[in-house]
Each structure stands twice: as structure tokens, then as C-alpha cells.
């Protein structure tokens, strides 16, 4: 008993009052937390929640510039087949220029999606047929070789014109 008492006095001398109080408070908090978790029912179980899922075909468009750069933050407008003048859905593309939406299955036909960013933009027309689901990855644009050939043909046309008009007149 004397030993216990001297130990207490020793702690009292060595450990300052504030630290002792903090330590005690911490113990109290742990005890309270234990008691609460044991005594109170877990509130999550009070309302039964269920997650149902259905498998639907969504459409993801990706807007890129012809340089290959993603059109980040482009304004996407989706037009339903029944009214090509009024936007059905609007949104903003993500950092990779992607935007996904689930078209209304009751509206078969050609859906149109337009991307627009600072006056640049493109439009894609997506045919949707409920009986014949189409799983395809469509891509617009040409390969580098095709582009080079197309550019070369136009340039050759210009050179031909220049040569034609620069020849000397015979008359």
C-alpha cells in the first residue's frame, strides 16, 4: 500500500497536471465509445435498402481534335430521333473528352450527338435499333496516309493550275 501510494505521488510529481487530465479524458472517451457501440442498435439496419440493376446499352462518345488531343470540357448536346431541333440531354465531356448517356429505348431511330468547344465541334449520328443491338466502335476520320494522299492531290491540282496558266501563249 505504501509502495502504491509512493508510486502515485511519484507520478504526481513527475507528470504535470494537464497531461494527466488529457490521458484520463482519452480513457473516458474510449470507454464511452465502446459503451455506445454496444448499447445502441446500428442505424443502417433500420431501413432496408436494395440495389436492383438492369443491363442497358449506353452510348459513349469521345470528342477529340484531329490532332488527337482530347476535347476536355466540351459541351455535349444529345438530340433524340423524334425531335432533332430540341436538345434531349446536355452535358460536359470529361478530361478525356468522353460523355456517356443511355438513350430512351422507346425512341428508336437515329440519335445525334454534338460536341462543341470554343467554336470547334463535330456531330455524330448513331442509329439505334432495339431488335438489332449494334455493338460497334465507330470512329470518324482518316489515317495519316489517306490524309497525306488527299493533301497531295489538292496540291498537285494547284500546281497543275499554276503550270497551265504560266505557259507561254502561242498566239
Amino acid at each position: 500500500m505504501a509502495l502504491k501510494r509512493s508510486l502515485y505521488q511519484h507520478i504526481r510529481q513527475v507528470v504535470p497536471l494537464r497531461q494527466r487530465l488529457t490521458f484520463g479524458g482519452l480513457l473516458l472517451l474510449i470507454a464511452l465509445a465502446n459503451g455506445l457501440s454496444l448499447s445502441l442498435p446500428v442505424p443502417l439496419l433500420a431501413h432496408g435498402a436494395l440495389l436492383k440493376y438492369t443491363h442497358t446499352a449506353a452510348i459513349t462518345v469521345q470528342a477529340v481534335y484531329d490532332t488527337g488531343q482530347s476535347m476536355t470540357g466540351a459541351q455535349i448536346t444529345v438530340y433524340a430521333p423524334d425531335n432533332p431541333a430540341r436538345p434531349w440531354l446536355t452535358g460536359i465531356s470529361d478530361a478525356e473528352g468522353r460523355f456517356s448517356f443511355v438513350p430512351d429505348p422507346d425512341l428508336p431511330g437515329t440519335w445525334s450527338v454534338r460536341a462543341r468547344h470554343a467554336g470547334h465541334g463535330a456531330m455524330v449520328h448513331i442509329p439505334i435499333n432495339p431488335e438489332q443491338p449494334e455493338h460497334s466502335l465507330r470512329k470518324q476520320g482518316y489515317t495519316a496516309g489517306q490524309r497525306a494522299l488527299m493533301a497531295a492531290s489538292v496540291v498537285w491540282g494547284c500546281i497543275g493550275t499554276a503550270l497551265y496558266f504560266s505557259r507561254r501563249r502561242t498566239s
Binding site: 490532332t67 448536346t77 446536355t90 462543341r116 470554343a118 467554336g119 463535330a122 493533301a151 494547284c158 493550275t161
Partner: protein, 213 residues
């Protein structure tokens, strides 16, 4: 700086066509008044090819990737031929690569061709008044290149601001447009340098190729 199809409302595209046709008519009329109207065609054809190719070469100038426009160069080298040349170049860019569009051909011709004619006027007036010297030619050619591209960028932004559709988030589009205009500032300087250097070189070797000297 090519506005694609479906971005602008119909009145603006129609107005663009009407303006572009009248400017083309005025340019052709001026060309026809020359002694030999066919003389400038070879040069115009070659510069049309250069203009057509320029939009395909992308220059990564931070913060964006831009392409050369060269409308200032066409202006100082072609004079009244610049506008028809730009229309033909724009037509092929739209048909071949979907760069711009056929419905917006008139608007794009005004956006790029109008400043080219302004550059031509600026270049010819000042060299004529002060008399040509290598320094002046280079300086005014630089100015012509700067003016042409900056006018084009401003016209492009103005057309889009006027024709903003109601369903678009105007604030987002306006800030994107501001960023686009600002990202063209390095290009404006670059184009000015290109036009200045070409003019300085041509003034030394073939001065008659420069329009308005």
C-alpha cells in the same frame, strides 16, 4: 479558326455567303481591270496550295495546338487574288478534311479573307506613301501578318458570340473562347515574323512578286 457546320444559326451563314459573294465579285472586278488578268493566276494557285496545307500543320504552342493561317502572306503577295484563293483553299479543306464546313464557307471566307484584304491594303498603302526600303517593307509585312491573324481571331470570336444558341452554357463557352483567343497570341507574333521574313527575302530577290510595290 474554321467554324464547322451546325454551329452558327442560319441567318449568319446566309449573311456570310452574301458578303463573301459580293467581296469575291469586287475582287474579280479589280483583277479584270488589270492589263493581263491571267498573269497573277500561277502565283495565286501556288499560294492556295500553301494556304490549304498550312491548316494541316499543327504547331504545339502552349497552352493550345494551333495551325498557321497565312492569310497575311496571301494578302501581301496576292492583293485582290487573296480572297478567291482563300475561298478555294477553304472549300478543299472543308470537303477533304471536314476542316470548316460547306454551309459556313461564306462566313469562314469573310473571317479569313477579309483580314487578308485588310493586310494587303495596309501593306500597299504604306509602302506606296513612304517609298519602299528593305526596313519598311519588312516592318509593314510584319504588321500585315499580325493584323491579318488578329482580325481573323476577333472575327471568329465575334461570329460565335453573336450566334450562340440558347441551349449552350454561355458562360462555359465564353471562357473557352477567351482561352482560345489568348492562346492565339503566340501565333499572331509567329505569323508576323513569317510574313516579315518572306517579304524581306522577296524584296531582295524578286521584288515584283510583292503586291502593291
Amino acid at each position: 479558326m474554321h467554324i464547322p457546320d451546325g454551329i452558327l444559326p442560319l441567318p449568319i451563314t446566309l449573311g456570310g455567303y452574301v458578303l463573301a459573294v459580293s467581296v469575291t465579285w469586287a475582287c474579280l472586278h479589280r483583277i479584270n481591270q488589270r492589263e493581263d488578268p491571267r498573269e497573277g493566276i500561277p502565283k495565286a494557285a501556288l499560294l492556295t496550295a500553301a494556304f490549304f496545307l498550312a491548316s494541316l500543320i499543327h504547331i504545339p504552342l502552349p497552352p493550345a495546338s494551333v495551325h498557321l493561317v497565312l492569310n497575311g502572306l496571301l494578302g501581301i503577295l496576292l492583293g485582290p487574288f487573296a480572297f478567291p484563293a482563300i475561298i478555294i483553299g477553304l472549300f478543299f479543306q472543308a470537303v477533304m478534311f471536314g476542316h470548316g464546313g460547306l454551309t459556313t464557307l461564306g462566313v469562314n471566307a469573310i473571317i479569313l479573307g477579309g483580314p487578308a484584304l485588310a493586310a494587303a491594303a495596309l501593306f500597299s498603302v504604306h509602302t506606296r506613301v513612304n517609298g519602299p526600303s528593305p526596313g519598311k517593307v519588312t516592318a509593314f509585312a510584319f504588321l500585315a501578318g499580325v493584323v491579318a491573324v488578329s482580325f481573323s481571331v476577333l472575327l471568329f470570336a465575334a461570329c460565335l458570340l453573336i450566334g450562340m444558341p440558347a441551349h449552350i452554357d454561355a458562360v462555359v463557352e465564353r471562357s473557352a473562347l477567351t482561352l482560345l483567343v489568348l492562346s492565339h497570341i503566340p501565333l499572331i507574333v509567329l505569323e508576323g515574323l513569317i510574313v516579315g521574313l518572306v517579304a524581306a527575302f522577296l524584296f531582295r530577290v524578286r521584288p515584283h512578286l510583292l503586291e502593291g510595290l
